[in-house]
Amino acid sequence: MKATKVFEAKDHRWWILYDQEESRVIDSNVYVMESQGQAFLLDPGGFEIFPQVFAALVEAVPPASIQGAFVSHQDPDIASSLPLWHACNPKIQWHIPALWEGFIRHYGALEAPLQDIPDAGGNTLIGGRRLEFIPAHYLHSSANFHVYDPEAKVLFTGDVGAALLPPGHSAWVDRRDVDGKSFAAHIEKARYFHQRWMPSNRAKDDWIERVRKLEIDYLCPQHGAIYSGPQVQRFLDWFATLPVGNGIA
């Protein structure tokens, strides 16, 4: 896996660890937010890819600097590495949806310090900077959160925006895409994922309404590539018109 900077302003940085080598499990992105020497992990990934995620992380931040981590929902590709991270750094505070606490401990983290996020959301401070946990329930998990960094204008969206990309993919959806052609090509790799995994049109509309009020420079999904600049708007527009929950059609 590789580490690359998403955002940087002085001592405030966002990193993406992406393009994993193991293809038997779903390709996942792990994000790291860094502020004044303190780091925060977002969706640290599955048990199987932990060694490579960890090795790539050391490209970005020293592991000892990790203060906290966030788990958007209970899925194994998100949270099953939790016990290993805990073994490496038992001081990490885990922010998880309250609804999933008893489930997540099943991954083998009976001792890990878990901080429950209530359904309404919440926030935390990392290196003097505030991160907001934005409710995104039913997108796709029934208790699900996204994370917003108002200063960096980064929105971590978990499975929303996810696309299934082949190995060697870029961290970004084409950043010089003037006419939206690249976006159109990219979003085809996201369409089925959204239609099948996202269960609720109402939840989707509710989310879009709230998210449109945020200033977003980078929309960062847990699978696929980052939407930046005009691609953010393109994605929201596309998602708004997409019917989801097609598993029961």
Partner: protein, 211 residues
Amino acid sequence: MTPEQLTRQQERVMEVVNASFRARQDIDRALREIDRRALNAMVLVKKHGNALAGYGVVAQAFRERAALLRESASHLQENIAPLIEAQMRILQQQRLLQNFAQVENSGGTNLQAQCAGLLTTRRAWDKAIAAEQENARKILRQLLEEVRILQEGVEEQEYVVTSGRIEAALVEASGVPLMRVSRDMGEAVRIVARAVRDYRQQLERLQDESY
């Protein structure tokens, strides 16, 4: 391995990982600093025409050495990630093994009879860990070799700095602050030397203790 040993080893690995990060940052920064110092010296020399040509040769050598150092430092980086990954795979396997230990403890003596496959698997995992550890040792040896090459490069660089001091003393009358430039170069090289030395000690400790 007892859980305590396991934790102890885990801590040691994390120390190395964090040291790697620091070493890489320090070395990068110091090498960049060396490069800038060298360029600065070359600019100074160029500004003064042929009078300082001798120092120009030194500055050029200094910069070339700095480039070589950066290259060997990057080889070093290339090997840090695999080492960390190997260590983390060991951690992963041991984690599974720990679960087994629990099963074994609770299952008592009957376990073998009840579930022969479990033991076979356990043995396979033991073997995997041993292989992984061997692999990590190999990477560690290689890493130490890279560090040694880097140290040699630093020593050569120190030699160039000394030549620079001599040259600077020879042309001191020119009024160009080459002595200061030489001192700055020397300082930048010392930072690299220290970072590399510390890192080497860290790696050696890991090598001595865990295997």
